[in-house]
Amino acid sequence: MKKTFKYFKTHPIYFLLFLCLLFLPPVIVAQPETQSTLIVRALGIDKTEEGYDISTVVLTPKSDQMFGENYKLIEGKGKSVSDAIAQIGVYSGKNIGLSHTGIVFVNDLACKTGLVEILDFLIREYSLGNNTSIMYVQDSTKDVINASLTLAKESEISLDEISVFNENKILFEKSTIESVHDSSNAPSRCSLLSVIKLSDENGLETKGSQSNESSGNEVSSGDQTESTQQSQEKNIENSGEALVLKEGKEKILLSKEEVLKYKWTKNSKGINYADVFILENFSDENLTNANVSVILENNKVEYNIDFNKAGNPIFEYKISPTVRIVEVNQKILDKDIYISPNKLSTNKLENAINSYVENNVREIITKLQFENLDLNKIYEKINAVDNKMFKKYLDQLSDKSKYLENIEFKYECQCEIL
């Protein structure tokens, strides 16, 4: 015994290794975590009058399918989100793993009630990153998720990729748990959610082999409910619309055109065919009544903040888009339109583009001002530049929440045609 003690004293590494071996026995029989955990890839939260219906898309490993992802839909119901998710765990006999959840869907009622309370569980749950995308679904999230399973099986297109595309190329704004949480704490209190819906005509077809589906209170495989049958017949449409939330609650739904107008107020980089706009019936020295399709390459937006004599803020947008002419449709081919793009870019065309942009921005900002929705975080911007003057202005107001009303907006666009 003494010899052993002395040996360990002179060779502490072996003592440490011996201690590590004490941790080893349970490891010998320990199964990998992937077997005891349900890896959730998508989460759908349907708020109902009774509580919450949670639909989860879980990864089910299959040994004969090495590189393919095999998914299963599992539902749970509960009075709160965590309760419903716990039910799913109980039904499946596994722990719920939210670390690989790529997307969360929320339904109409959830947004109307107030998203922040609903997302409280997800915000507190560390394994689910706050940069997880959220998408708004007008009907039932379960139907959309069901349809997305078929889509994923048939193609490599997945809804979380579509959501990321929306954030980067359409909204130019994050539509994530963090953005909703941030907006509920920020003075402007507004955030955007991208919208996905099921449609009969537009979008991606999802007809094909049946998606695997089981609900928590039914035995798996076999019966399909009516709604899932319907969802299989409908298409998934990424409409390009956006839902505006104020204080986490649904306010207005921006149409696709309005979203495209809103985009002009955001910095953007890189070519994207979603950014094509058309100048109709345009005439200048080169063109006559032509429909000129222009693509936005880059957009740079700067702000100029000032205060007028009355102490009201003046917020000026300085928009500098870089555009390129991609298509010219002219009925009367009286002039040679296939000339180099440099020659096509005339002052008139530039002015037309500038006024187009300014009008668009004016329209959307006016609408947002009317609805008292500070999507552009104007409060923060003015507060950052001149905190004292802005405080004076706010103190003047009878209702401080309606600070947008008296702000004067100006717009200036100076485009560059490549």
Binding site: L16, L19, F23, N130, D182, N185, E380, N383, N387
Partner: protein, 393 residues
């Protein structure tokens, strides 16, 4: 005294110690106290730290052949020396408990979901004690070995975050009063004092006649990186920083690269675990040295081992019984005044020692002059001071 640590190694340990406890839960705690102005609280803490660094460096240069305990006994007497060592012991003890439970909190959320506290404490204490049992030269060389990895990872992380993360304008500043900002600095003072470890390396550092500017630059760069980290954290989570207690791994999730490469917060977690190991080792070295010299009984043969056993035993008691939850620890350390008062006292130890040694040197010089006058020695020449006395009496 055998000099085993170079100035470069010392500055590298300083660089690494700057990150201690600061990259995980602390940004959110700071934010809860004083919002965005927490940046200034951090800034003041860093300035104090840097001042302390320069004072301690001067002390080390002046006492190159003395052990720290020897130095304390010479300047202040044995009793005061032991009191100072005791204060430093308590200071570092709180740090290591914070590291253990805070680190466990971080690791549990990041990677260790169901792991018990014992597992984390076992690993951390094992590696920390091992680093202490090997010579300080070995610890210094180990830090030097990992320095490029830590430097490159931190720098790349900061550069990528700075240029790609969605950052918001932090203005307006000073929404809180100065007293609030200073109060935050005061309440969180335990996380600074990162250069006090240099005192324990007194007498073991090889000072050569070279320029030390590049070594000071490492310390400054480390402080800059910490400040930049907080700046980035608050810029990304301007209004929600209090809900992000895993600062470094959460920031990585928000980088656009995650959409391309995929989740790579394992890099941040690995970096933090590496830093925990090195910080733990440093704290244990300081604790062990303090306790060794506090223990009075000369009959104890292996003071090193005994001090380590006592330290580990105390740590386990504190993390299991006194502060079983991190919340309790947090309440005690950051919301009550005991710990900030202790850390403030400890901060002034180097300055106190510097002043004491300055006064004592002056007194000694006067005594030497008086002695030499009594002996009738002419041409009393003080080296490098240009003072020159001639016998005129």
């Amino acid at each position: 005294m055998i000099k085993t640590i170079s100035v470069r190694q010392l500055s590298i340990i300083g660089f690494i110690s700057v990150f201690a406890l600061k990259l995980t839960i602390l940004p959110s705690l700071f934010y809860q106290k004083s919002g965005i102005d927490a940046l200034f609280s951090l800034f003041f803490l860093i300035i104090f730290d840097l001042l302390e660094y320069f004072i301690i460096l001067k002390l080390l240069k002046q006492n190159q052949n003395k052990d720290f305990y020897q130095f304390l006994c010479d300047k202040t007497g044995k009793i005061v020396a032991k009191i100072i060592l005791f204060l430093l012991f308590v200071f570092y003890f709180i740090k290591i408990i914070l590291l253990t439970s805070g680190g466990y909190n971080f690791a549990r959320n990041a990677i260790f979901k169901e792991a018990p506290l014992f597992l984390f404490a076992f690993i951390l204490l094992s590696i920390s004690n091992s680093l202490c049992l090997f010579k300080t030269q070995s610890y210094a060389r180990t830090s030097e070995f990992f320095y490029p990895i830590i430097l490159i990872m931190m720098s790349i992380f900061m550069i990528i975050a700075l240029f790609t993360a969605p950052m918001q304008d932090l203005r307006p500043f000073f929404q809180n009063t100065f007293s609030n900002i200073f109060n935050t600095s005061f309440m969180f003072s335990i996380v600074s004092g990162n250069f006090l470890f240099m005192l324990f390396f007194m007498g073991r550092i090889k000072f050569k006649e070279t320029k030390y500017k590049s070594y000071n630059f490492k310390i400054l760069y480390g402080c800059f990186l910490v400040f930049l980290f907080y700046f980035i954290d608050y810029s990304i989570f301007k209004y929600t920083a209090m809900a992000h207690p895993q600062a470094i791994s959460e920031i990585i999730q928000f980088l656009p690269l995650t959409n391309i490469i995929g989740n790579f917060d394992w890099l941040a977690v690995s970096l933090m675990l590496l830093l925990f190991s090195l910080h733990g080792g440093l704290f244990i070295i300081c604790l062990s040295y303090s306790l060794k010299n506090i223990l009075v009984n000369k009959k104890i043969k292996n003071k090193n081992l005994l001090s380590l056993i006592i330290i580990n035993f105390l740590i386990l008691i504190f993390i299991y019984f006194v502060f079983p939850k991190f919340e309790d620890m947090r309440q005690f350390v950051f919301n009550q005044y005991y710990v900030p008062i202790l850390s403030s006292i400890v901060f002034f130890i180097p300055l106190f020692l510097y002043i004491i040694s300055f006064i004592i040197e002056k007194i000694n010089k006067k005594n030497r002059v008086i002695l030499k006058r009594k002996k009738g020695i002419t041409n009393i020449n003080f080296k490098n001071k240009g003072m020159y006395y001639e016998k005129d009496f």
